[in-house]
Subunit: 282 residues, 2 copies
Amino acid sequence: MDTIINEINERLTEVMSSLKDGNVKEAMTYSLMAGGKRLRPLLFCYTLKSYGVDYHDYIDVACAIEMIHTYSLIHDDLPGMDNDDLRRGRPTCHIQFDEATAILAGDGLLNESMNVILNMDIDSSLKVDMMKVLYDHSGVNGMIYGQQQDIYFEDHQANLKELEDVHHYKTGCLLSAPLILAGLIANKNEVPALKDLGFTIGLAFQIQDDILDVTSDTETLGKPVGSDIDNHKSTYVTLLGIEQSQDYANKLFKSCLEKIYALTLNHGLMIEIIEKVMKRVK
Amino acid sequence: MDTIINEINERLTEVMSSLKDGNVKEAMTYSLMAGGKRLRPLLFCYTLKSYGVDYHDYIDVACAIEMIHTYSLIHDDLPGMDNDDLRRGRPTCHIQFDEATAILAGDGLLNESMNVILNMDIDSSLKVDMMKVLYDHSGVNGMIYGQQQDIYFEDHQANLKELEDVHHYKTGCLLSAPLILAGLIANKNEVPALKDLGFTIGLAFQIQDDILDVTSDTETLGKPVGSDIDNHKSTYVTLLGIEQSQDYANKLFKSCLEKIYALTLNHGLMIEIIEKVMKRVK
């Protein structure tokens, strides 16, 4: 797993090196190379590997996914959004640089995520098919809708159904995209099943996130714990309590295993990466 | 010209209607439909028309260009950037809505600009070629670099060469892209000449902008006049004075005419649109 992370980091460094020097490039690099877990690129590479496809040929897609994820974190942390000072154990982008640079760094990462895919040496039709999935999942009918609803429910009480809907979009979209993209490359027939698996992983991931926000500590997590409570956010923990939330996460994990066994790929490899997502401590 | 503007506005409305309802969609629509001059889409449609190509088949490209332009305005106006309250004669996006919604609306417009092109019913290879131009021009090696340098020169004195460089990227990139994109569709051989023409138009446009900032009034312009002086920005007017700036703009306009006559297209139509850009009063 570490090998893939290193390969992704190396390629991200190469991608960034093609950009014009300045504050924005520095800020993009600062946030991108802050030692994130790379879960989304790993999900993509592992799914390809599980289908017996050499992920090296598509590592730029993994980079694009991580760039989109990082842009969303930079903008989420801005004073006008969540106003967070700490991310991945370091000052957030607008604290380390300034607000204008952080806004542009986010814009830059979204914009350059496209250029990475556009410049790949693969069929144009595959590029277009993959970008359709990626930018549908990250856009106003996907992740951005989730971010909007997340803000809405800071001032409004969410029930469990509404909370699940927020997370479906805010977290699920960009966690299911890697699986769908790998499916487009490796096995088009199984795309619907991969999508379903991806959203289940997304939900389990989010419940884990809510649990960690109250059971972990700032040092381990690299971001302030208890921020959900401070922001008056409804979470699985506030709605269900820790124990029931953990039960729900375990149930979803089991459901993921069943969905994996129904796919025609290397089950062991897929379980390895799903366990990484589920059993994380940060 | 008004017919094309109406057609673009109609198509933009259609494009927006496919998005999930909410604050972000409202804010995107508010800024997008605020009655902008649509110069960039007009440049694209007129260039196609001048080559004898039916622009209706490519109107989604015109929409994508305007969406990118609007996203850049929304983010430029944010408190963390230029902190402007007025745009196109109306409250800016973050004043009308709130900062979080304006950040997401900008992100949404950039993201959805891609989806508009990705969903077009044309060859994948043409889509990819056009998107390469568009997102290279709008990205960290293009418009975003210009925005970064623009901020840098708020605190640093720029000379004429540096100022021209800022505007080459900040304004020129997204004014030359429509011509290059039309060239990719209509006449690949003339793309380099179209690019050169586009950047000359961009420079003339910017000088005109600097002149209007001191000679016009807020009501006509729809945004505060004198903001360049308030922000201590170097402009053509502060460096050359109004008269010399006007001479320079006139010289560039003549140069544009020469460049147009060297192209194998309908010269009258191209001059019509260039005059619209040059002789604007707002």
